[in-house]
Symmetry: C2
Subunit: 285 residues, 2 copies
DNA sequence: GTTCCGCATGAATCGATAG
DNA sequence: ACTATCGATTCATGCGGAA
């Protein structure tokens, strides 16, 4: 498939039609949040969000393998003093479309957006909704195992560590660590809460989620050589994660500048790490 | 009101009718989870959960003051390999009943229930749904402020500290700490994720949530002398929390052995801490 | 090379002001 | 009255520059 390892320009509802049935192993995406990035994305009104999303989800369901998973990163915004219901309505609508709602993971954000309001605190978590076509989906739980809880203790006793102050501790689900360093230690399974920080000090592009987020689900739900799709690719973080893990990727975005940015980030990565580029060639057709 | 500071026996749908309109400042409760505690509570089938809950919520809405809040601790269970939708359907139904869905807090459990399943990880979080009758509800955000985030940094640079390994730091929302120790330090507001442990070492009763959970919301949404209601009191943790914080409480449970247990726990607390008992007398009518 | 400090930067929300 | 825009608020992170 010549679409592999490219970023495609257009509305995913149309672009997805180029992709064959049952050809994708994992869809990981963070769609534009309702009415949120009005300036850059057109802005979907909360009341119309479900109707806007459903036809796209229909195509996603078609291209996903029966063994594949669909992970949706989303959070409803506050409208008129209360949480809007478009996300939970979307869950019900996707079920009606034939998806199984397998699980709801939580991304507990280390650094949430600051602010103070009279009736609420800072929003420090987002949903990661897992949907499946079949109850018999691929999963590789061992791939995301983490060192047993007392790692912070070991680390802090080693005084040569640079930044004692950053306590990633037991709530950290093993992100950003080279797990191979922990071979020989006891590994345990993580939970359905992922505790990690947003990457906010980016130079040009503002990734809305850290790369460790798609990486975690790519490791959990796919094998080397599988294909990952992000129909709302944005700055291309999902594609980059797939590339770094030796998976194929397909990205789609409706905004030309983001397609170019994603392609550029991916190209840089391929050049910078030849071993990955070689791997990549091996798996692309 | 002679009902104050008692645990009442019966189905809350009926018992609540004894309570006057607009007389409760906070409802904090963890209702029986669908089909979960079948042996001890009768067990409500997931598909009937909303219908079962709604008439009770109607009475709760009647007794709650317009300035009050209703906090519902709940989590949907897995049915047939996927998350059941009764909780999100309940949110929609409560909105239709006239409640505002102000916020969804997350309880991120430090120590979640152990176990291993082939298609999911341990469930490490629960929902804390905040509903209101009015958008102009009482809230005292200062009461739950926590020490500023660089706690770990300050602490770790002080090498005389005994327990470096206890990095509860910023994800800990101040639970279990005596905040008065932090006077003079900078305090910041917490987020909408509460990170605390379950209490697993109970003697006779199995509390489904730690006492710090109701305490946090009692401090946030009520003042001394206000009245807290738990219509599914269970082992009485909410009532105990209210008592310890100098609030009045009303507990309701349908199971006689739990009413007795709650009453016993409350009595012990009143005897053990005379100052609280005195306060209590002052505020009960 | 390390450590420390300062600073910009966010999937935000509310209330006031302006059209 | 209803919608659109703008300023104030707030804090963990990661970067760069300085000691």
């Amino acid at each position: 498939m010549e679409l592999l390892n490219t970023i495609l320009l257009g509305d995913c509802e149309q672009v997805l039609q180029q992709i064959p049935d049952n050809s994708i192993d994992l869809i990981f995406t963070s769609p534009p949040y309702a009415d949120q990035r009005k300036n850059t994305y057109g802005g979907i009104h909360p009341d119309q969000y479900v109707d806007w999303f459903l036809p796209k989800a229909f195509e996603m369901k078609r291209v996903l393998k029966p063994s594949g998973s669909f992970v949706l990163n989303i959070k409803e915004r506050v409208v008129n003093g209360e949480r809007h219901t478009y996300v939970i309505e979307l869950i019900l609508a996707l079920k009606k479309q034939g998806w199984f709602w397998t699980e709801e993971y939580v991304w507990h954000k280390k650094n949430s957006f600051p602010g103070k309001w009279p009736n609420r605190f800072r929003d420090s978590w987002e949903r990661l909704l897992q949907f499946n076509k079949s109850k018999d989906f691929k999963i590789f739980q061992e791939n995301v195992m983490i060192p047993v809880g007392n790692w912070a203790k070991d680390r802090l006793s080693n005084l040569s560590e640079t930044d004692h102050s950053r306590d990633e501790s037991r709530v950290n689900s093993g992100f950003g660590k080279n797990v191979s360093n922990w071979l020989g230690r006891d590994l345990v399974y993580p939970t359905n809460v992922l505790y990690l920080a947003t990457e906010c000090s980016n130079k040009n592009h503002s990734a809305v989620f850290p790369i460790d987020l798609p990486k975690w689900f790519i490791k959990l739900f796919t094998e080397t050589g599988d294909t990952v799709l992000d129909p709302f690719a944005g700055s291309g973080t999902t594609c980059l994660a797939a590339l770094e893990l030796g998976r194929n990727f397909i990205g789609i975005d409706i905004r030309n500048e983001y397609v170019e940015l994603s392609q550029q980030r991916v190209n840089e990565k391929q050049l910078r790490i030849p071993s990955i580029a070689e791997k990549q060639n091996k798996y692309s057709s």
